[in-house]
Protein backbone atom coordinates (compact mmCIF):
# COMPACT_ATOMS: atom_id res chain seq x y z
CA UNK A 1 0.00 0.00 0.00
CA UNK A 2 1.28 3.44 -0.89
CA UNK A 3 1.86 6.18 1.65
CA UNK A 4 2.44 9.18 -0.61
CA UNK A 5 -0.15 11.84 -1.40
CA UNK A 6 -2.45 10.39 -4.07
CA UNK A 7 -3.39 12.11 -7.28
CA UNK A 8 -6.76 13.87 -6.89
CA UNK A 9 -9.60 11.46 -7.64
CA UNK A 10 -11.01 13.54 -10.48
CA UNK A 11 -7.62 13.56 -12.20
CA UNK A 12 -7.30 9.78 -11.90
CA UNK A 13 -10.82 9.27 -13.22
CA UNK A 14 -10.44 11.56 -16.23
CA UNK A 15 -7.15 9.89 -17.06
CA UNK A 16 -8.48 6.33 -16.73
CA UNK A 17 -11.60 7.07 -18.74
CA UNK A 18 -9.65 8.71 -21.54
CA UNK A 19 -7.33 5.70 -21.67
CA UNK A 20 -9.94 2.93 -21.71
CA UNK A 21 -12.26 4.60 -24.23
CA UNK A 22 -9.49 5.58 -26.64
CA UNK A 23 -10.43 4.16 -30.05
CA UNK A 24 -6.90 3.02 -30.81
CA UNK A 25 -6.55 1.14 -27.54
CA UNK A 26 -4.93 1.57 -24.17
CA UNK A 27 -1.35 2.23 -25.33
CA UNK A 28 -2.51 5.00 -27.64
CA UNK A 29 -4.77 6.31 -24.91
CA UNK A 30 -1.91 6.53 -22.44
CA UNK A 31 0.24 8.31 -24.98
CA UNK A 32 -2.51 10.74 -25.83
CA UNK A 33 -3.33 11.44 -22.18
CA UNK A 34 0.30 12.08 -21.29
CA UNK A 35 0.49 14.78 -23.94
CA UNK A 36 -2.67 16.63 -23.07
CA UNK A 37 -3.73 15.81 -19.54
CA UNK A 38 -2.85 16.66 -16.01
CA UNK A 39 -1.03 13.34 -15.59
CA UNK A 40 2.18 12.67 -17.39
CA UNK A 41 1.85 8.94 -16.96
CA UNK A 42 3.56 7.46 -19.99
CA UNK A 43 3.43 3.72 -20.63
CA UNK A 44 6.96 3.35 -19.23
CA UNK A 45 5.79 4.69 -15.85
CA UNK A 46 2.36 3.08 -15.81
CA UNK A 47 3.24 0.75 -12.97
CA UNK A 48 3.70 3.79 -10.74
CA UNK A 49 -0.07 4.22 -11.05
CA UNK A 50 -1.61 0.82 -11.88
CA UNK A 51 -0.27 -2.24 -10.13
CA UNK A 52 0.70 -5.22 -12.24
CA UNK A 53 -0.52 -8.65 -11.20
CA UNK A 54 1.36 -11.92 -11.15
CA UNK A 55 0.11 -12.76 -14.63
CA UNK A 56 -0.60 -9.41 -16.29
CA UNK A 57 1.20 -6.15 -16.88
CA UNK A 58 -0.49 -2.89 -15.93
CA UNK A 59 -1.33 -2.19 -19.53
CA UNK A 60 -2.86 -5.64 -20.03
CA UNK A 61 -5.04 -5.07 -17.00
CA UNK A 62 -6.32 -1.77 -18.32
CA UNK A 63 -7.06 -3.49 -21.63
CA UNK A 64 -9.70 -5.60 -19.86
CA UNK A 65 -11.70 -2.40 -19.39
CA UNK A 66 -10.88 -1.06 -22.82
CA UNK A 67 -12.02 -4.25 -24.56
CA UNK A 68 -15.13 -4.51 -22.43
CA UNK A 69 -16.13 -0.90 -23.07
CA UNK A 70 -16.26 -1.38 -26.79
CA UNK A 71 -17.67 -4.92 -26.77
CA UNK A 72 -20.44 -4.14 -24.32
CA UNK A 73 -21.68 -1.08 -26.17
CA UNK A 74 -21.50 -2.73 -29.57
CA UNK A 75 -23.46 -5.71 -28.22
CA UNK A 76 -26.19 -3.28 -27.18
CA UNK A 77 -26.24 -1.64 -30.63
CA UNK A 78 -26.43 -5.07 -32.26
CA UNK A 79 -29.49 -5.76 -30.12
CA UNK A 80 -31.03 -2.42 -31.06
CA UNK A 81 -30.40 -2.81 -34.80
CA UNK A 82 -30.71 -6.52 -35.69
CA UNK A 83 -31.96 -6.00 -39.26
CA UNK A 84 -29.30 -3.36 -39.93
CA UNK A 85 -26.63 -5.74 -38.70
CA UNK A 86 -28.03 -8.50 -40.89
CA UNK A 87 -27.94 -6.24 -43.94
CA UNK A 88 -24.44 -4.92 -43.38
CA UNK A 89 -22.81 -7.97 -41.81
CA UNK A 90 -21.55 -8.08 -38.24
CA UNK A 91 -17.90 -7.37 -39.00
CA UNK A 92 -18.67 -4.24 -40.98
CA UNK A 93 -21.19 -3.20 -38.35
CA UNK A 94 -18.58 -3.37 -35.61
CA UNK A 95 -16.41 -0.94 -37.57
CA UNK A 96 -19.31 1.39 -38.23
CA UNK A 97 -20.53 1.24 -34.64
CA UNK A 98 -17.04 1.96 -33.35
CA UNK A 99 -16.99 5.15 -35.40
CA UNK A 100 -20.42 6.06 -34.11
CA UNK A 101 -19.38 5.60 -30.49
CA UNK A 102 -16.40 7.92 -31.01
CA UNK A 103 -18.69 10.70 -32.20
CA UNK A 104 -21.61 9.87 -29.91
CA UNK A 105 -20.16 8.37 -26.71
CA UNK A 106 -22.69 7.24 -24.11
CA UNK A 107 -23.75 10.00 -21.77
CA UNK A 108 -27.02 8.71 -20.36
CA UNK A 109 -27.61 6.47 -17.37
CA UNK A 110 -29.64 4.20 -19.63
CA UNK A 111 -28.40 2.10 -22.53
CA UNK A 112 -31.75 2.77 -24.17
CA UNK A 113 -30.31 6.09 -25.31
CA UNK A 114 -27.16 4.63 -26.82
CA UNK A 115 -28.47 4.27 -30.37
CA UNK A 116 -30.50 7.47 -30.46
CA UNK A 117 -28.25 9.29 -32.94
CA UNK A 118 -27.23 6.31 -35.06
CA UNK A 119 -29.35 7.18 -38.11
CA UNK A 120 -28.18 10.81 -37.95
CA UNK A 121 -24.60 9.60 -37.83
CA UNK A 122 -25.20 7.49 -40.92
CA UNK A 123 -26.70 10.45 -42.76
CA UNK A 124 -23.69 12.60 -41.91
CA UNK A 125 -21.09 10.01 -42.86
CA UNK A 126 -22.76 8.28 -45.83
CA UNK A 127 -20.91 7.93 -49.12
CA UNK A 128 -22.30 10.04 -51.96
CA UNK A 129 -25.16 8.61 -53.99
CA UNK A 130 -23.59 7.85 -57.36
CA UNK A 131 -26.67 6.62 -59.19
CA UNK A 132 -27.21 8.66 -62.36
CA UNK A 133 -30.87 9.34 -61.74
CA UNK A 134 -30.47 10.00 -58.03
CA UNK A 135 -32.58 6.99 -57.13
CA UNK A 136 -32.18 5.63 -53.61
CA UNK A 137 -29.08 3.52 -53.15
CA UNK A 138 -27.67 1.02 -50.65
CA UNK A 139 -26.76 3.74 -48.16
CA UNK A 140 -30.31 5.09 -48.31
CA UNK A 141 -31.60 1.59 -47.56
CA UNK A 142 -29.33 1.28 -44.52
CA UNK A 143 -30.26 4.72 -43.24
CA UNK A 144 -33.96 3.94 -43.54
CA UNK A 145 -33.46 0.62 -41.80
CA UNK A 146 -31.72 2.38 -38.91
CA UNK A 147 -34.51 4.97 -38.72
CA UNK A 148 -37.13 2.23 -38.60
CA UNK A 149 -35.39 0.18 -35.92
CA UNK A 150 -34.84 3.24 -33.73
CA UNK A 151 -38.52 4.06 -34.12
CA UNK A 152 -39.40 0.52 -33.02
CA UNK A 153 -37.29 0.94 -29.86
CA UNK A 154 -38.91 4.26 -28.96
CA UNK A 155 -42.44 3.02 -29.56
CA UNK A 156 -41.80 -0.22 -27.68
CA UNK A 157 -40.76 1.39 -24.40
CA UNK A 158 -42.43 4.79 -24.68
CA UNK A 159 -45.88 5.81 -23.49
CA UNK A 160 -48.67 3.66 -24.88
CA UNK A 161 -52.40 3.10 -24.77
CA UNK A 162 -52.68 -0.24 -23.01
CA UNK A 163 -54.07 1.26 -19.82
CA UNK A 164 -56.54 3.52 -21.65
CA UNK A 165 -60.06 2.65 -22.72
CA UNK A 166 -60.29 2.06 -26.50
CA UNK A 167 -61.84 4.76 -28.65
CA UNK A 168 -65.31 3.57 -29.59
CA UNK A 169 -65.47 3.52 -33.39
CA UNK A 170 -69.27 3.84 -33.21
CA UNK A 171 -68.71 7.43 -32.10
CA UNK A 172 -67.64 8.27 -35.65
CA UNK A 173 -70.76 6.71 -37.10
CA UNK A 174 -73.21 8.42 -34.78
CA UNK A 175 -71.64 11.86 -34.76
CA UNK A 176 -73.81 14.54 -36.40
CA UNK A 177 -72.07 15.92 -39.54
CA UNK A 178 -71.59 19.42 -38.10
CA UNK A 179 -69.79 18.01 -35.03
CA UNK A 180 -67.82 15.57 -37.14
CA UNK A 181 -66.31 18.43 -39.12
CA UNK A 182 -65.15 20.42 -36.08
CA UNK A 183 -63.95 17.48 -34.00
CA UNK A 184 -60.27 16.82 -33.37
CA UNK A 185 -58.79 13.42 -32.85
CA UNK A 186 -56.30 12.85 -30.05
CA UNK A 187 -53.43 10.74 -31.36
CA UNK A 188 -52.04 7.87 -29.32
CA UNK A 189 -48.64 8.78 -27.84
CA UNK A 190 -47.17 5.66 -29.45
CA UNK A 191 -48.25 6.52 -33.00
CA UNK A 192 -45.46 7.43 -35.44
CA UNK A 193 -45.91 8.22 -39.13
CA UNK A 194 -42.89 7.78 -41.35
CA UNK A 195 -41.94 7.59 -45.01
CA UNK A 196 -39.16 5.29 -46.16
CA UNK A 197 -37.55 4.84 -49.55
CA UNK A 198 -37.63 1.07 -49.27
CA UNK A 199 -40.06 -1.46 -47.75
CA UNK A 200 -37.71 -1.70 -44.78
CA UNK A 201 -40.45 -2.99 -42.50
CA UNK A 202 -40.71 -6.22 -44.51
CA UNK A 203 -36.95 -6.68 -44.43
CA UNK A 204 -36.80 -6.02 -40.68
CA UNK A 205 -39.64 -8.42 -39.92
CA UNK A 206 -38.06 -11.16 -42.02
CA UNK A 207 -34.81 -10.81 -40.06
CA UNK A 208 -36.66 -10.88 -36.75
CA UNK A 209 -38.30 -14.13 -37.92
CA UNK A 210 -34.86 -15.67 -38.50
CA UNK A 211 -35.13 -15.45 -42.29
CA UNK A 212 -32.45 -14.30 -44.70
CA UNK A 213 -34.20 -11.70 -46.86
CA UNK A 214 -32.82 -10.21 -50.06
CA UNK A 215 -32.17 -6.48 -50.03
CA UNK A 216 -35.39 -4.93 -51.35
CA UNK A 217 -35.84 -2.79 -54.44
CA UNK A 218 -36.53 0.88 -53.75
CA UNK A 219 -40.21 1.67 -53.30
CA UNK A 220 -41.68 4.57 -51.37
CA UNK A 221 -43.22 3.08 -48.23
CA UNK A 222 -45.43 4.91 -45.76
CA UNK A 223 -45.92 3.37 -42.36
CA UNK A 224 -48.03 4.00 -39.31
CA UNK A 225 -45.98 2.50 -36.47
CA UNK A 226 -47.86 1.98 -33.25
CA UNK A 227 -48.17 -0.36 -30.28
CA UNK A 228 -50.90 -2.61 -29.01
CA UNK A 229 -50.70 -5.09 -26.13
CA UNK A 230 -47.09 -3.95 -25.60
CA UNK A 231 -45.93 -5.18 -29.01
CA UNK A 232 -44.91 -2.81 -31.80
CA UNK A 233 -47.12 -3.00 -34.92
CA UNK A 234 -46.68 -1.40 -38.29
CA UNK A 235 -49.36 -0.71 -40.88
CA UNK A 236 -48.71 0.22 -44.49
CA UNK A 237 -50.72 3.26 -45.54
CA UNK A 238 -51.10 5.02 -48.89
CA UNK A 239 -50.14 8.61 -49.66
CA UNK A 240 -53.60 10.05 -49.02
CA UNK A 241 -54.00 8.23 -45.72
CA UNK A 242 -50.53 9.38 -44.70
CA UNK A 243 -51.36 12.97 -45.57
CA UNK A 244 -54.65 12.88 -43.70
CA UNK A 245 -53.20 11.16 -40.64
CA UNK A 246 -50.31 13.63 -40.52
CA UNK A 247 -52.66 16.60 -40.45
CA UNK A 248 -54.84 15.00 -37.78
CA UNK A 249 -51.84 14.16 -35.60
CA UNK A 250 -50.63 17.75 -35.97
CA UNK A 251 -53.92 18.92 -34.44
CA UNK A 252 -56.14 19.88 -37.38
CA UNK A 253 -59.86 19.28 -36.97
CA UNK A 254 -61.29 16.55 -39.14
CA UNK A 255 -62.89 19.19 -41.38
CA UNK A 256 -59.64 21.15 -41.72
CA UNK A 257 -57.66 18.00 -42.42
CA UNK A 258 -60.05 16.94 -45.18
CA UNK A 259 -60.06 20.42 -46.69
CA UNK A 260 -56.28 20.59 -46.72
CA UNK A 261 -56.14 17.10 -48.15
CA UNK A 262 -58.34 18.07 -51.09
CA UNK A 263 -56.39 21.31 -51.65
CA UNK A 264 -53.11 19.47 -51.72
CA UNK A 265 -54.29 16.45 -53.69
CA UNK A 266 -56.57 17.62 -56.48
CA UNK A 267 -56.60 14.11 -57.92
CA UNK A 268 -57.60 12.53 -54.64
CA UNK A 269 -60.91 10.80 -54.75
CA UNK A 270 -62.07 9.39 -51.45
CA UNK A 271 -65.64 8.36 -50.91
CA UNK A 272 -67.48 8.89 -47.67
CA UNK A 273 -67.65 5.12 -47.19
CA UNK A 274 -63.89 4.83 -47.59
CA UNK A 275 -63.30 7.63 -45.11
CA UNK A 276 -65.65 6.03 -42.66
CA UNK A 277 -63.85 2.71 -42.98
CA UNK A 278 -60.48 4.36 -42.48
CA UNK A 279 -61.53 6.09 -39.30
CA UNK A 280 -63.09 2.90 -38.01
CA UNK A 281 -59.90 0.92 -38.70
CA UNK A 282 -57.65 3.59 -37.19
CA UNK A 283 -59.73 3.71 -34.05
CA UNK A 284 -59.68 -0.09 -33.78
CA UNK A 285 -55.91 -0.15 -34.29
CA UNK A 286 -55.47 2.37 -31.50
CA UNK A 287 -54.08 5.24 -33.58
CA UNK A 288 -56.33 7.61 -31.66
CA UNK A 289 -57.34 7.68 -28.03
CA UNK A 290 -59.91 10.46 -27.94
CA UNK A 291 -62.31 12.59 -29.93
CA UNK A 292 -62.61 16.20 -28.82
CA UNK A 293 -65.92 17.60 -30.07
Amino acid sequence: MANRVPQPLDVIQRWMQSVIVHPAGVAAGIKSASKTGEMEQGADRLEELICRSRAQTSIERLEVYSNAYKARLIDVLIGDYPAFVHALGEEAFVGLASGYLEVHPPVSYTLGELGRSFADYLIQTRPPNESEDGSPDWADFLIDLARLERCYSEVFDGPGIEELPPLDSDRFRHLPPEQWITSRLVAAPCLRLAVYRFPVHEYASAVRHQQDPESPIAEVTRLAIHRREYVVRRTTIDAIQFDLLTRLVEGASIGQALEQLIEGNSQAVVTADELSAWFRDWAAAGFFIGLAT
Partner: protein, 316 residues
Protein backbone atom coordinates in the same frame (compact mmCIF):
# COMPACT_ATOMS: atom_id res chain seq x y z
CA UNK B 1 -26.17 -2.63 21.77
CA UNK B 2 -26.20 -5.66 19.49
CA UNK B 3 -26.11 -4.71 15.82
CA UNK B 4 -29.25 -5.59 13.91
CA UNK B 5 -28.69 -8.34 11.31
CA UNK B 6 -29.03 -7.29 7.66
CA UNK B 7 -29.50 -3.66 8.75
CA UNK B 8 -33.00 -4.70 9.68
CA UNK B 9 -33.96 -5.95 6.23
CA UNK B 10 -35.73 -9.29 5.88
CA UNK B 11 -34.08 -12.41 4.51
CA UNK B 12 -36.13 -12.85 1.35
CA UNK B 13 -34.70 -16.27 0.55
CA UNK B 14 -33.36 -17.35 -2.85
CA UNK B 15 -34.10 -15.01 -5.75
CA UNK B 16 -33.35 -14.58 -9.42
CA UNK B 17 -32.34 -11.55 -11.48
CA UNK B 18 -35.25 -10.62 -13.75
CA UNK B 19 -34.26 -10.75 -17.43
CA UNK B 20 -36.44 -10.01 -20.45
CA UNK B 21 -35.98 -13.44 -22.06
CA UNK B 22 -37.86 -14.92 -19.13
CA UNK B 23 -40.84 -12.55 -19.26
CA UNK B 24 -43.17 -14.91 -21.17
CA UNK B 25 -42.32 -17.89 -18.93
CA UNK B 26 -42.83 -15.92 -15.73
CA UNK B 27 -46.18 -14.48 -16.78
CA UNK B 28 -47.43 -17.84 -18.00
CA UNK B 29 -46.21 -20.08 -15.18
CA UNK B 30 -45.88 -17.76 -12.17
CA UNK B 31 -43.24 -20.08 -10.71
CA UNK B 32 -42.55 -20.40 -7.01
CA UNK B 33 -39.65 -17.99 -6.60
CA UNK B 34 -38.82 -16.20 -3.36
CA UNK B 35 -38.07 -12.82 -4.92
CA UNK B 36 -36.76 -10.96 -7.98
CA UNK B 37 -34.09 -8.33 -8.46
CA UNK B 38 -34.47 -5.90 -11.39
CA UNK B 39 -31.91 -3.71 -13.12
CA UNK B 40 -33.21 -0.28 -12.14
CA UNK B 41 -32.16 1.53 -15.33
CA UNK B 42 -34.23 -0.84 -17.48
CA UNK B 43 -37.42 0.20 -15.74
CA UNK B 44 -37.21 3.75 -14.43
CA UNK B 45 -38.14 5.25 -17.81
CA UNK B 46 -40.18 2.36 -19.18
CA UNK B 47 -43.77 2.91 -20.22
CA UNK B 48 -43.95 -0.34 -22.17
CA UNK B 49 -43.81 -4.05 -21.70
CA UNK B 50 -40.86 -4.10 -19.26
CA UNK B 51 -42.72 -1.90 -16.80
CA UNK B 52 -45.96 -3.80 -17.34
CA UNK B 53 -44.24 -7.09 -16.54
CA UNK B 54 -42.55 -5.60 -13.49
CA UNK B 55 -45.87 -4.31 -12.18
CA UNK B 56 -47.40 -7.76 -12.66
CA UNK B 57 -44.55 -9.45 -10.84
CA UNK B 58 -44.52 -6.87 -8.05
CA UNK B 59 -48.06 -7.89 -7.16
CA UNK B 60 -46.91 -11.44 -6.48
CA UNK B 61 -43.21 -11.34 -5.57
CA UNK B 62 -40.95 -9.12 -3.44
CA UNK B 63 -38.87 -6.85 -5.69
CA UNK B 64 -35.39 -5.44 -5.11
CA UNK B 65 -33.93 -2.72 -7.35
CA UNK B 66 -30.31 -3.07 -8.41
CA UNK B 67 -28.71 -0.22 -10.33
CA UNK B 68 -25.63 0.10 -12.50
CA UNK B 69 -25.45 3.86 -13.13
CA UNK B 70 -25.48 5.53 -9.73
CA UNK B 71 -21.73 6.11 -10.07
CA UNK B 72 -21.32 6.71 -6.37
CA UNK B 73 -17.55 7.07 -6.69
CA UNK B 74 -17.51 9.50 -9.61
CA UNK B 75 -16.28 13.03 -9.17
CA UNK B 76 -19.09 14.25 -11.42
CA UNK B 77 -22.12 15.66 -9.58
CA UNK B 78 -24.80 13.15 -8.62
CA UNK B 79 -27.64 13.00 -11.14
CA UNK B 80 -30.62 14.16 -9.10
CA UNK B 81 -33.09 13.51 -11.91
CA UNK B 82 -31.94 9.90 -12.01
CA UNK B 83 -32.20 9.63 -8.21
CA UNK B 84 -35.74 10.99 -8.24
CA UNK B 85 -36.71 8.41 -10.84
CA UNK B 86 -35.16 5.67 -8.72
CA UNK B 87 -37.20 6.81 -5.74
CA UNK B 88 -40.37 6.99 -7.76
CA UNK B 89 -39.99 3.43 -9.07
CA UNK B 90 -38.95 2.12 -5.65
CA UNK B 91 -42.09 3.59 -4.15
CA UNK B 92 -44.29 2.28 -6.98
CA UNK B 93 -43.13 -1.34 -6.82
CA UNK B 94 -42.53 -1.23 -3.07
CA UNK B 95 -38.92 -2.24 -3.55
CA UNK B 96 -37.52 -3.96 -0.50
CA UNK B 97 -34.28 -2.04 -0.98
CA UNK B 98 -32.27 -0.20 -3.62
CA UNK B 99 -28.72 -1.21 -4.42
CA UNK B 100 -25.82 -0.26 -6.70
CA UNK B 101 -22.04 -0.72 -6.76
CA UNK B 102 -18.95 0.68 -5.07
CA UNK B 103 -17.53 2.09 -8.27
CA UNK B 104 -17.68 4.95 -10.73
CA UNK B 105 -19.16 4.55 -14.21
CA UNK B 106 -17.94 7.71 -15.88
CA UNK B 107 -16.71 11.25 -15.53
CA UNK B 108 -16.97 14.49 -17.53
CA UNK B 109 -20.63 13.68 -18.28
CA UNK B 110 -19.85 10.35 -19.90
CA UNK B 111 -21.09 6.94 -18.84
CA UNK B 112 -18.84 4.05 -19.78
CA UNK B 113 -21.55 1.60 -18.66
CA UNK B 114 -18.82 -0.24 -16.82
CA UNK B 115 -18.25 -0.55 -13.08
CA UNK B 116 -14.85 1.11 -12.78
CA UNK B 117 -12.73 0.64 -9.66
CA UNK B 118 -11.64 3.32 -7.25
CA UNK B 119 -8.30 3.74 -5.57
CA UNK B 120 -8.91 2.90 -1.93
CA UNK B 121 -7.62 5.67 0.31
CA UNK B 122 -8.91 8.26 2.78
CA UNK B 123 -9.74 10.81 0.11
CA UNK B 124 -11.86 8.39 -1.96
CA UNK B 125 -13.47 6.95 1.16
CA UNK B 126 -14.67 10.33 2.39
CA UNK B 127 -15.84 11.22 -1.11
CA UNK B 128 -17.95 8.07 -1.35
CA UNK B 129 -19.30 8.31 2.18
CA UNK B 130 -20.45 11.88 1.60
CA UNK B 131 -22.23 10.93 -1.59
CA UNK B 132 -23.93 7.92 -0.02
CA UNK B 133 -25.38 10.25 2.61
CA UNK B 134 -26.77 12.52 -0.10
CA UNK B 135 -28.26 9.60 -2.01
CA UNK B 136 -29.86 8.23 1.14
CA UNK B 137 -31.37 11.65 1.81
CA UNK B 138 -32.88 11.83 -1.67
CA UNK B 139 -34.10 8.25 -1.71
CA UNK B 140 -35.26 8.53 1.89
CA UNK B 141 -34.01 5.03 2.48
CA UNK B 142 -30.79 3.25 3.27
CA UNK B 143 -28.65 2.50 0.23
CA UNK B 144 -27.16 -0.96 -0.26
CA UNK B 145 -23.84 -1.14 -2.10
CA UNK B 146 -22.10 -4.05 -3.80
CA UNK B 147 -18.40 -4.85 -3.95
CA UNK B 148 -17.40 -4.87 -7.63
CA UNK B 149 -15.26 -7.36 -9.48
CA UNK B 150 -12.17 -5.56 -10.74
CA UNK B 151 -9.23 -5.98 -13.05
CA UNK B 152 -6.86 -3.23 -11.90
CA UNK B 153 -5.66 -1.91 -8.57
CA UNK B 154 -3.99 1.42 -7.90
CA UNK B 155 -0.63 2.01 -6.32
CA UNK B 156 -2.23 4.97 -4.54
CA UNK B 157 -4.46 2.67 -2.48
CA UNK B 158 -3.67 2.74 1.21
CA UNK B 159 -6.20 0.13 2.30
CA UNK B 160 -7.66 -3.11 0.98
CA UNK B 161 -11.01 -3.21 -0.74
CA UNK B 162 -12.47 -5.11 2.20
CA UNK B 163 -11.34 -2.40 4.63
CA UNK B 164 -12.67 0.31 2.36
CA UNK B 165 -16.05 -1.39 2.00
CA UNK B 166 -16.29 -2.07 5.73
CA UNK B 167 -15.41 1.50 6.74
CA UNK B 168 -17.68 2.92 4.05
CA UNK B 169 -20.65 0.93 5.32
CA UNK B 170 -20.07 1.92 8.92
CA UNK B 171 -19.35 5.61 8.29
CA UNK B 172 -22.20 6.11 5.82
CA UNK B 173 -24.55 3.76 7.66
CA UNK B 174 -25.42 1.88 4.49
CA UNK B 175 -26.08 -1.77 3.75
CA UNK B 176 -23.85 -4.15 1.81
CA UNK B 177 -24.62 -6.40 -1.09
CA UNK B 178 -21.85 -8.95 -0.90
CA UNK B 179 -21.17 -10.40 -4.33
CA UNK B 180 -19.39 -13.61 -3.49
CA UNK B 181 -18.37 -14.25 -7.09
CA UNK B 182 -16.90 -10.75 -7.31
CA UNK B 183 -14.81 -11.36 -4.20
CA UNK B 184 -13.53 -14.56 -5.73
CA UNK B 185 -12.80 -13.02 -9.15
CA UNK B 186 -10.96 -10.09 -7.59
CA UNK B 187 -9.08 -12.33 -5.17
CA UNK B 188 -7.61 -14.25 -8.08
CA UNK B 189 -6.95 -11.13 -10.16
CA UNK B 190 -5.34 -9.24 -7.29
CA UNK B 191 -3.90 -12.12 -5.32
CA UNK B 192 -5.62 -11.70 -1.98
CA UNK B 193 -7.30 -14.21 0.30
CA UNK B 194 -11.04 -14.27 -0.34
CA UNK B 195 -11.80 -15.79 3.05
CA UNK B 196 -9.87 -13.03 4.83
CA UNK B 197 -11.91 -10.54 2.82
CA UNK B 198 -15.09 -12.05 4.23
CA UNK B 199 -13.69 -11.84 7.76
CA UNK B 200 -13.13 -8.10 7.35
CA UNK B 201 -16.72 -7.32 6.36
CA UNK B 202 -19.13 -6.21 9.12
CA UNK B 203 -21.50 -9.16 8.93
CA UNK B 204 -24.52 -7.31 10.28
CA UNK B 205 -24.29 -4.86 7.32
CA UNK B 206 -24.76 -7.61 4.74
CA UNK B 207 -28.29 -7.27 3.39
CA UNK B 208 -27.89 -9.47 0.34
CA UNK B 209 -25.60 -11.87 -1.50
CA UNK B 210 -24.98 -12.15 -5.23
CA UNK B 211 -23.92 -15.34 -6.95
CA UNK B 212 -22.87 -15.68 -10.59
CA UNK B 213 -20.62 -17.55 -12.98
CA UNK B 214 -17.29 -16.28 -14.24
CA UNK B 215 -14.81 -17.07 -17.01
CA UNK B 216 -11.19 -18.06 -16.63
CA UNK B 217 -9.08 -16.38 -19.31
CA UNK B 218 -5.85 -17.99 -18.23
CA UNK B 219 -4.20 -14.86 -16.88
CA UNK B 220 -7.21 -13.55 -15.01
CA UNK B 221 -10.88 -14.18 -14.29
CA UNK B 222 -13.73 -12.20 -15.81
CA UNK B 223 -17.08 -11.72 -14.12
CA UNK B 224 -19.15 -12.80 -17.14
CA UNK B 225 -22.40 -13.94 -15.49
CA UNK B 226 -22.72 -16.52 -18.25
CA UNK B 227 -22.50 -19.86 -16.53
CA UNK B 228 -23.04 -21.91 -13.42
CA UNK B 229 -21.54 -20.84 -10.10
CA UNK B 230 -18.16 -22.48 -9.58
CA UNK B 231 -17.27 -24.62 -6.58
CA UNK B 232 -14.85 -22.13 -4.99
CA UNK B 233 -17.56 -19.48 -5.08
CA UNK B 234 -20.03 -21.84 -3.44
CA UNK B 235 -17.51 -22.47 -0.68
CA UNK B 236 -17.10 -18.75 -0.14
CA UNK B 237 -20.87 -18.50 -0.01
CA UNK B 238 -20.91 -21.20 2.63
CA UNK B 239 -18.60 -19.13 4.82
CA UNK B 240 -20.46 -15.90 4.10
CA UNK B 241 -23.69 -17.55 5.13
CA UNK B 242 -22.07 -18.78 8.31
CA UNK B 243 -20.64 -15.36 9.19
CA UNK B 244 -23.83 -13.42 8.56
CA UNK B 245 -26.40 -15.92 9.70
CA UNK B 246 -27.90 -15.81 6.21
CA UNK B 247 -29.16 -13.09 3.93
CA UNK B 248 -31.26 -12.77 0.77
CA UNK B 249 -29.38 -14.55 -1.99
CA UNK B 250 -29.67 -13.83 -5.69
CA UNK B 251 -28.31 -15.43 -8.83
CA UNK B 252 -27.28 -13.22 -11.77
CA UNK B 253 -27.19 -14.79 -15.24
CA UNK B 254 -26.76 -12.17 -17.98
CA UNK B 255 -25.21 -13.85 -21.02
CA UNK B 256 -26.02 -17.15 -22.75
CA UNK B 257 -29.07 -17.12 -20.50
CA UNK B 258 -30.69 -20.57 -20.22
CA UNK B 259 -34.41 -21.23 -19.67
CA UNK B 260 -35.76 -19.93 -16.39
CA UNK B 261 -36.00 -23.30 -14.59
CA UNK B 262 -32.25 -23.81 -15.06
CA UNK B 263 -31.46 -20.37 -13.66
CA UNK B 264 -33.79 -20.93 -10.75
CA UNK B 265 -32.36 -24.38 -10.06
CA UNK B 266 -28.90 -22.82 -9.89
CA UNK B 267 -29.78 -20.49 -7.05
CA UNK B 268 -31.64 -23.26 -5.26
CA UNK B 269 -28.28 -25.05 -4.94
CA UNK B 270 -27.49 -22.44 -2.29
CA UNK B 271 -29.46 -24.53 0.18
CA UNK B 272 -26.68 -27.11 0.02
CA UNK B 273 -24.20 -24.56 1.34
CA UNK B 274 -26.18 -23.28 4.28
CA UNK B 275 -24.81 -25.90 6.63
CA UNK B 276 -22.64 -24.61 9.44
CA UNK B 277 -19.49 -26.60 8.69
CA UNK B 278 -16.89 -25.32 6.27
CA UNK B 279 -15.83 -27.85 3.71
CA UNK B 280 -12.24 -28.88 3.23
CA UNK B 281 -12.04 -26.43 0.34
CA UNK B 282 -11.32 -23.57 2.73
CA UNK B 283 -7.83 -24.83 3.26
CA UNK B 284 -7.21 -25.80 -0.35
CA UNK B 285 -6.12 -23.70 -3.31
CA UNK B 286 -8.87 -22.61 -5.65
CA UNK B 287 -9.46 -24.93 -8.58
CA UNK B 288 -9.54 -22.29 -11.27
CA UNK B 289 -6.45 -20.29 -10.61
CA UNK B 290 -5.28 -18.81 -13.89
CA UNK B 291 -2.86 -21.19 -15.51
CA UNK B 292 -0.58 -20.65 -18.45
CA UNK B 293 -2.14 -23.63 -20.18
CA UNK B 294 -5.76 -22.80 -19.37
CA UNK B 295 -8.22 -22.68 -22.20
CA UNK B 296 -8.14 -19.08 -23.35
CA UNK B 297 -11.36 -17.68 -24.71
CA UNK B 298 -10.82 -15.22 -27.52
CA UNK B 299 -14.28 -13.97 -28.42
CA UNK B 300 -14.61 -10.49 -27.02
CA UNK B 301 -18.35 -10.57 -26.69
CA UNK B 302 -18.27 -13.81 -24.73
CA UNK B 303 -15.97 -12.33 -22.10
CA UNK B 304 -17.56 -9.01 -21.27
CA UNK B 305 -17.54 -8.37 -17.52
CA UNK B 306 -21.05 -8.12 -16.03
CA UNK B 307 -22.69 -7.95 -19.46
CA UNK B 308 -25.18 -5.20 -20.08
CA UNK B 309 -28.82 -6.08 -19.64
CA UNK B 310 -30.57 -3.81 -22.10
CA UNK B 311 -34.16 -3.78 -23.32
CA UNK B 312 -34.84 -4.57 -26.97
CA UNK B 313 -38.06 -3.99 -28.90
CA UNK B 314 -40.64 -6.68 -29.56
CA UNK B 315 -42.18 -6.21 -32.99
CA UNK B 316 -45.02 -8.20 -34.58
Amino acid sequence: MMPIPRCGHPNLGLGVGLRTVHFPYLLRHQPEVDWFEVISENFIDSHGRPRYVLDQLAERYPIVMHGVSLSIGSTDPLNLDYLRKLKSLADAVQAKWVSDHVCWTGVASRNSHDLLPLPYHEQSLQHVVERIRIVQDVLQRQLVLENPSSYVTFTASTMSEAEFVARMAEEADCGLLLDVNNIYVSSINHDFDAFEYLDAIPAHRVVQFHLAGHTNLGTHLIDTHDNHVTDPVWELYRKAHLLTGGASTLLEWDAKIPPFPIVHAEVMKARNYMSSALSSFASQPANDQPQANSTVLTSISSTVPHPATAIFAEVE
